[in-house]
Symmetry: C2
Subunit: 446 residues, 2 copies
């Protein structure tokens, strides 16, 4: 339904729900013809933000292509945004359905829960996923990792400096800009002033060289990495924990893809590293492996050992953000989270991960068979493809592949200037779509 | 389960889920005995915040009382936090259950949705609740009003000044402090510097006199009001919209209790007021009348007509916050929201509201029968009771009532210095608890 002035001003008599529940009287709001500007200055940090958020921008370009080529609508295959496509398996689903249906009974009904999540879920996360290496008291259950990153930024405030991998998940940089930690974007380097960009290239195994970068208060590290698919080794993580300790930095470790790690000895949590509790926060999510991208459930671990320079436990301030500016993850969804961590749920999750990793393997082999250099896709659901210079920039390659093969990808440059020259392929797609996309990519890129 | 060092370091062999899904290796994280402080300065705004967030503080005091009086555990009745207690009715429940169960099928599965909510829900909100007075494009569906207030604050940034009703829902002030808009709290007045407190007393009908208050960039107004229960008249709202227009202020109108309005002619949305689209944002929620306090669903309306002083539509920047720092309300829950707005759902909601308003009426009558002066509770689920001076401060009265009657209330001072001398009673409770609480209050206060 599009907004229509006629509907707004003439739709009388009033609709049922309207008159009985929230009935507005017939003296309606009228827009004056002369636009009036409120006397409130725009937050200058929002003026610094370049373009829109990456993934809606991808959607806009895809939709624009479809407007111009409406006959292609059925042919589009998305290997773009990392969005799960497989139905939620039986046991986990039963947790969600029960979570909903019990709200209809007097005994099963629940209202507000603790803002940091149900105690039983925090305990189960700590015991099942962390083998009690961390305390349930340090777990904050939430509606997802993206939202938690913003809440961490609210806690850190405008006064900190941030370091990010380049390329990286765009939320770290965008929220730093929104919070006022940065200067403006340099139109040549495409980097924001006052953010430390740590190049992650094939040469350094996509792991940042923090030692030779300027010190930052907060260091964002994602492993397995989005978008490069690189999973950091124990030695690499030991190194960066040590460096963060020496330099007095807080490490924000994004482990949203941890269960995709299948290689022996690769850490799945930063808290496997000695001393990490004194320097690290871990952000995590059920989204990618339980099919919860639309369901919304994540968590963040803030160890009680971690303090600011004045001795205040970081956990205290994060708790203040959670209790004041958040109201808990949905009780229905938390019940689904409990089911994820039952033995049957864990088994179902492993089956889903197998499925997506097999997709990643097919994507890897395809791109290699064309002669492209390929990274990631073994301990991660993302395949990072090095583009030949002949294809032009990564946004050019994105457009060419969309037009010739009707396959949506993500240009590396969307993840920061360091991603230029690469393309990210997501393994989150139905198998038949992946196979079909690979056929088309072979033809389009041959 | 409490955190135990022994469990963390000795629990080998590893648990099932742990080794297969997110298995941490046996080289575990060790806390050094000397506490190490990260070299990151604490966000100074968090240091300004007084105490904890109000409602957890109420919970702490209640729990402390129960620790000292464990035999009273079964006697406690909460008329404290405004938390729904009645099960979710049949039709709305079926929306939630279907929303969950369809995720188990290939056809019904959905992953990420639009960050601003499903189009069909935004359209239904605009048509059913606003009679298409507003555009679906101006509706942002979210996980609740509290979270949206923080997201609005992120958008406004540190540079704005805020005005609040005194007393008011504590989130407006607390998030203003967290964002750095304020100075420190004055230990005598208990007010933060650089916030405009607009006294709302029985004398002015609990409606703020913005005209005689200093100008602020953002004015927070809640009607029906939490905690006073006052519902603003059309004339009052016309006045404040006019003032905001003249003074170039943005009005953030919190309408979370709107459907509780039963009096004729009292506006349920700020957009019933002429010209409001150029000055107002409306925050709203399904929590209180659909029983969704734990389910989590709300929305915010940012009219496209509203701009910052440089002409930037406010909606654009709010959309940037929603898309960058939020990932959509749960798809399960949005399906429940659709059911709320069906004719059957609206009828169920009206029945729930009847129930809670009857509770409010019982509370009103009881307190009046004891001889107390009582406000609110007719177009709102809160009864605001004027305390005789003999009871001391409102925190004293809170403690006395907890100890003598085992009834949890909220002291008016918890809502700001202007709430001193009052007590808020919530009508969100089972009927039998309300009746029992009233008996006990009569005895305790007689």
């Amino acid at each position: 339904m599009k907004f229509s002035l006629a509907a707004a001003f003439l739709a009388l008599p009033l609709a049922h729900g309207f008159s009985s529940l929230a009935g507005l009287s017939s003296t309606t709001s009228k827009t004056s013809s002369s636009q009036l500007h409120a006397g409130v200055e725009r937050n200058p940090n929002f003026g610094k933000l370049a373009g829109g958020y990456l993934f809606p921008e991808i959607g806009r370009r895809r939709n624009k292509y479809l407007e111009e080529n409406p006959d292609m609508a059925d042919r589009i295959i998305s290997l773009g945004i990392g969005d799960t496509t497989q139905p939620i398996p039986e046991h986990i689903l039963s947790g969600l359905v029960t979570g909903a249906s019990q709200l209809g009974t007097k005994e099963g009904y629940s209202g507000y829960g603790a803002e940091n999540g149900q105690a039983r879920l925090r305990e189960k996360i700590a015991s099942t996923l962390y083998n009690d290496l961390i305390s349930p008291d340090d777990v904050f259950v939430s509606d997802g990792a993206k939202c938690d990153i913003m809440r961490l930024q609210q806690m850190f405030g405008a006064g900190v400096t941030s370091a990010v991998q380049d390329p990286s998940y765009p939320v770290y940089v965008d929220t730093s800009v929104m919070m006022g930690q940065t200067g403006t974007q340099n139109s040549e380097t495409m980097q924001y002033d006052n953010i430390v960009y740590m190049a992650c290239t094939a040469e350094n195994g996509f792991f940042p060289d923090y030692e030779n970068a300027p010190r930052a208060d907060v260091v964002y590290l994602c492993s397995p990495n989005n978008p490069t698919g690189a999973a950091a080794t124990r030695e690499q993580l030991e190194g960066i924990v040590k460096l963060c300790k020496e330099r007095g930095s807080i490490l924000v470790f994004d482990a949203a893809y941890a269960p995709f790690i299948r290689s022996e000895g690769v850490p799945k949590s930063i808290f496997e590293i000695e001393g990490a509790k004194e320097v690290a926060i871990e952000v995590n999510s059920f989204s990618k492996y339980a099919g919860f991208t639309g369901v919304r459930l994540g968590w963040t671990v803030v160890p009680s050992e971690l303090t600011f320079s004045d001795g205040t436990p970081v956990r205290n301030d994060f708790n203040r953000v959670m209790s004041t500016a958040f109201n808990g993850a949905s009780n229905i969804v938390q019940n689904g989270g409990m089911a994820c961590l039952d033995p049957e749920g864990l088994k179902e999750i492993n089956t889903l991960i197998d499925y997506y990793l097999e997709n990643a393997s097919i994507l890897r082999e395809t791109m290699e068979s064309i002669g492209y250099k390929v990274y990631g896709g073994t301990d991660a659901p993302y395949v990072f493809v090095e583009l030949p210079e002949s294809l032009g920039g990564s946004w050019d390659a994105f457009s060419m592949i969309l037009e010739k093969a009707q396959v949506v990808t993500i240009p590396g440059a969307g993840f920061g200037p360091g991603g230029e020259g690469y393309l990210r392929l997501s393994a989150f797609a139905p198998r038949e779509s992946v196979v079909e996309a690979c056929d088309r990519l072979k033809k389009a890129l041959a």
